[in-house]
């Protein structure tokens, strides 16, 4: 057990260092594109038809502190972060947290639902495909998975919207019905969200399924021919129990070790779908803040996503530690 805490502690420490490094990279990368928030504000006004005096840019820069050197802006941002202050959103002139916070709940709920949905469907299909390799069922499952992967998610989203409009006479975009939009969260509102959110889950979920199906199928096929399976079978173990207890468990390992990447991938992959379906997740907010070069909102969201990746990796490590005895042995040797 001692080794476990050492293992986790070491992981936590490296997490913090990684986060710090990520924050530098994030801030520098956001600053890379030409222009800044002031130019984007002026561009926005121009694109809406306003005639703007370009000289305005200088007073804007001064007001938002954009004329200060990058490192100074970075230090004040990170300084604030360490005190739990995410900074001010330039676009909305309110603390970033207030902008982000209402979106975190729906984002996590939807990402979680997509994760569970796609795994619940894809893992059994993958197992089936491996056990019945080259059967009709295998082909159907494979074709289904690849169609889901090959069709861009936003196209599926548009198709879903059009089907909703032309066949059911409703515009299904948005997470909540209009009457709940400006209301506080309640059970009714929650169920309304669930009753509309499944379309989003379906659209985003089908996109990721093919990958899981293929990994599951390939891994399981590898395992099925291994000697331990033959041994167990020879010893008269029932087929169902055998498959689930040994080869499936091993075949799941790669999935477990990449859970860390699933969290940010779910947050990132849905940007366009959320945009099209008008779903209030962090995705469109990130896209807009990058577009308007609102450094603090974009930086905070990216940092949160990196934080999730790192936490996810930690979870994978811990899960692996639990699932795979070989990891435990390796860690024990290390210390």
């Amino acid at each position: 057990m001692n080794s476990f805490f050492l293992f986790a502690g070491k992981r936590l420490l490296s997490m913090l260092i990684t986060l710090l490094a990520v924050s530098v990279v994030v801030f520098a990368v956001i600053d890379l594109p030409p222009g800044d928030f002031a130019t984007s504000r002026i561009a926005e006004m121009q694109s809406m038809g306003q005639t703007v005096d370009p000289e305005l840019i200088f007073s804007l820069r001064e007001m938002y502190g954009l004329d200060k050197p990058l490192y100074e802006r970075y230090l004040s941002w990170v300084g604030g972060l360490l005190q739990g202050d995410l900074g001010m959103s330039l676009t909305d002139n309110q603390p970033v947290w207030e902008t982000i916070q209402p979106r975190i709940g729906p984002t996590m709920a939807l990402a979680g639902a997509v994760f569970i949905f796609s795994h619940l469907i894809a893992i059994p299909i993958g197992i089936f495909s491996a056990l019945r390799q080259y059967s009709w069922g295998d082909y159907v499952a494979t074709v289904f998975g690849f169609i889901g992967m090959a069709t861009p998610n936003f196209v599926l989203a548009i198709v879903a919207l059009l089907i909703g409009y032309f066949h059911f006479d409703t515009v299904v975009s948005g997470l909540f019905s209009d009457q709940f939009l400006n209301e506080p969260m309640s059970w009714d509102k929650f169920w309304d969200g669930v009753s509309r959110g499944w379309i989003y889950v379906l659209v985003v979920g089908t996109g990721g399924m093919a990958g899981i199906i293929r990994i599951m199928r390939a891994n399981l096929l590898d395992e099925l021919t291994k000697p331990y399976v033959k041994t167990a079978r020879a010893k008269g173990m029932s087929e169902g129990r055998l498959i689930l207890k040994y080869p499936v468990r091993v075949a799941l390992l790669p999935m477990v070790s990449t859970i860390g990447w699933m969290l940010p991938a779910l947050l990132g992959a849905d940007v366009i779908v959320s945009q099209v379906m008008n779903v209030p997740t962090l995705g469109p907010l990130l896209l807009n803040s990058l577009r308007t070069q609102d450094m603090y909102v974009a930086g905070d969201i990216l940092l949160i996503m990196s934080g999730l990746t790192i936490i996810g990796t930690l979870i994978s490590d811990l899960l692996l530690y639990w699932v795979d005895p070989r990891v435990r042995v390796g860690v024990a040797k290390e210390f």
């Binding site: 594109p33 030409p34 222009g35 800044d36 130019t39 984007s40 504000r41 002026i42 561009a43 926005e44 006004m45 121009q46 694109s47 809406m48 038809g49 306003q50 005639t51 703007v52 005096d53 370009p54 000289e55 305005l56 840019i57 007073s59 001064e62 007001m63 938002y64 502190g65 001010m88 676009t91 909305d92 002139n93 309110q94 603390p95 902008t99 209402p102 979106r103 548009i158 919207l161 059009l162 409009y165 006479d169 515009v171 975009s173 948005g174 909540f176 209009d178 939009l181 400006n182 959320s274 945009q275 099209v276 379906m277 008008n278 209030p280 469109p284 807009n288 577009r291 308007t292 070069q293």
Partner: protein, 632 residues
């Protein structure tokens, strides 16, 4: 010219005010009055309320105006909610009419304007609107050299105007430079900020009125009082003044739920102190509230519009690509798809930047023959057929027929597709050498390549037409390189005058004096000669380029337009400017512009049908939206 003071009275299109006792109000307000939460309607209305004559009928109170929009689009909200300037345009866009101001006098030099304000108008919190509010805005808000919000373009520097209150309802504005267009400019969207600064509220965000401001700003999480102040009392361009629920307004509706990243629906509610009544003495507006449903995506917005979720809208959904969907669903959505005459003169104009930093190209672009050749190289019928189903005509960058400046010859010059003439003209300019791909070479041996900058946000019509022009110009050996760039990058290039061509829709079909960007270096939008514009503002400007004689003459003439208030004289001078524009042919036009499509819910009443579509105007603001009502 002997008169000392030219007294100009604007047509007083006001009916005799109804007697105070006859005023009536919305039932929801009557309830509040009875509960003692509001003063009587006669006490809320000014002595002489503005009387609006409804287009169709006197309305019934109640209902909500439902609209679709994009959260950051303040322009749409200005058009619907916030067009109550000191002076307004009428709905036909041919006259400036009194609004919050009832009249004015000006001195002969057009430097001193004395405005009389409507007596007894109150802000939405019941506080009187007086000359002090205007003085505060001019002297302390935009008069502050470090002011970081927008200034109106006609008061572009802090010392350009000074104001004094003569009495509570009379304000004297002294301008540094003579400006005969001042009153007209007050009626444009650029003049909207003048009536949006309630001194009694906004002064608390200025350090000269509030000693504790720095501490308060810090407590609210801002690093400077300016940021704090700009959040609480912004001017109209910058996330409009109605993001702050507490800030009093003079408009028909007042924000209740401000737009924001987490507000899918913004709500505006009736201003109980609104100062307009209909011909029967009913206080406007009729509609209780305005609701905006925000979309992140324009396709989704069109789908919602087709489903009947918007009551009265052209913004974002009026483009040609959305038409079939919206027309097909008229019955299902319970609306009618109408057309508004456009004030655009062209669907796309190509203004080659004659002042671009590439000297060889700048010299080439400045040659009239070069521009004429390129114009002959465009097959306009092809553009009309391919992009606009053939419903638009070949058209040069010139005023449209409904304008006083319409000139048939200007509108049609160099519009015929004539590759031979084009090639001859280009050969004549010393561009006869060609490279292996058939493109012409410039005198320094480089391929003749024109870089057109567009963004993904560009309207479908412009980018589609541009692709056609690219193929057509290939025939005459000119390489049009269409580059889709990021909007911020485009802005940076614009500011440093480092671009060759920014194709844009052709503003300035009617209302030429308000929007002449294609005819002379008129504004920063005159991208064909941005260096000239900078020069006209300040010859020592970092990106100024000294203009040739004919441009200088135009700048001089336009100075004169500003220096006179005589409308006939302004027209005469402007005609002279337009004659030079016609002769010099600065900007290449393509085809005329489509009318703007408007979705109007079948239950909405009092919508005028011949209102021109224009930004400077700004449609539909001048119709006075307080008179809109909804059949229940």
């Amino acid at each position: 010219m002997k008169k000392n003071v030219v007294a100009l009275s604007i047509a007083m299109c006001l009916a005799t005010p109804a007697l105070a006792a006859e005023y009536s109000e919305a039932p929801q307000l009557t309830k509040l009055v009875e509960a003692g939460q509001l003063p009587e309607v006669s006490d809320r209305l000014p002595q002489e309320p503005l009387v609006v004559t409804p287009f169709d009928s006197v309305g019934k109170y109640g209902g909500t105006l439902n609209l679709l929009g994009r959260a950051p689009d303040n322009v749409h909200r200005i058009r619907i909610i916030a067009y109550d300037n000191l002076f307004n345009f009428n709905e036909k866009y041919n006259e400036v009419v009194p609004n919050l101001a009832t009249g004015f006098t000006a001195n002969e030099e057009n430097t001193v304007f004395t405005l009389s304000l409507r007596k007894g108008v109150k802000w939405s919190d019941g506080h009187p609107f007086t000359a002090d509010d205007i003085v505060f805005y001019i002297n302390e808000v935009i008069g502050d050299p470090d002011h970081a919000g927008n200034r109106p373009l006609f008061i572009s520097s802090p010392d350009a105007a000074k104001a004094t209150a003569v009495d509570a309802h009379t304000v004297k504005i002294e301008l540094k430079e003579p400006n005969g267009l001042f009153i007209r400019q007050l009626a444009t969207i650029d003049g909207a900020s003048f009536a949006t600064y309630p001194k009694h509220y906004c002064s608390q965000f200025y350090p000269q009125y509030n000693k504790n401001l720095d501490a308060e700003a810090e407590a609210a999480g801002f690093s400077t009082w300016r940021q704090y102040s700009m959040t609480k009392c912004r001017s109209a361009y910058f996330i409009e003044h109605y993001t702050n629920v507490d800030r009093p307004v003079l408009t028909a509706w007042k924000v209740k739920t401000p737009p924001g990243p987490n507000t899918p629906i913004a709500e505006f509610e009736r201003n109980p102190f609104y100062w307009q009544v209909d011909t029967e003495g009913n206080q406007l507006p009729y509609l209780d509230s305005v609701r905006w449903r925000f979309s992140e995506d324009s396709e989704e917005m069109v789908l919602r519009a087709a489903a009947g979720e918007t009551d009265f809208q052209a913004r974002h959904i009026g483009g040609p690509s959305h038409r079939p969907m919206l027309i097909a669903n008229e019955e299902k959505g319970g609306y009618t798809y109408h057309f508004r005459p456009t004030t655009l003169m062209n669907s796309m104009v190509l203004g080659l930047n004659q002042t671009t930093s590439d000297k060889v190209k700048a010299e080439l672009f400045a040659q009239k023959d070069f521009r004429v050749a390129l114009s002959h190289g465009i097959d306009r019928e092809d553009i009309s057929e391919t992009v606009y189903s053939g419903v638009v005509e070949p058209y040069q960058a010139a005023p449209i027929e409904s304008s006083a400046f319409y000139d048939e010859e200007m509108a049609s010059q160099y519009t015929d597709y004539d590759v031979e003439t084009a090639n001859k003209l280009l050969d004549g300019l010393g561009l006869e050498k060609r490279d292996s791909a058939g493109y012409r070479l410039m005198k320094d041996g480089r391929r003749l390549r024109i870089e057109a900058l567009t963004t993904t946000a560009d309207l479908g019509g412009v980018s589609d037409s541009l692709e056609l022009v690219k193929n057509q110009w290939k025939e005459i050996g000119v390489f049009l390189d269409i580059r889709v760039v990021e909007t911020n990058y485009l802005t940076s290039l614009r500011i440093t005058n480092d671009f060759e061509l920014i194709p844009m829709p052709g503003d300035g079909g009617v209302g030429i004096i308000d929007e002449a960007r294609s005819y002379l270096p008129y504004s920063p939008e005159s991208t064909w000669g941005l260096g000239y514009y900078n020069w006209a503002q300040d010859p020592n400007h970092e990106y100024a380029v000294e203009p040739p004689a004919h441009v200088k003459r135009q700048i001089e003439l336009f100075e004169k337009v500003r220096n006179t208030a005589d409308q006939a004289e302004q027209q005469r001078l402007m005609k002279e400017i337009m004659a030079i524009a016609k002769e010099q042919f600065y900007v290449i036009g393509t085809v005329s512009s489509l009318e703007e499509g408007v979705v109007i819910n079948n239950k909405i009443r009092n919508v005028p049908h011949d209102m021109p579509q224009s930004y400077t105007f700004p449609t539909p603001g001048p119709m006075r939206l307080g008179q809109l009502w909804k059949e229940q």
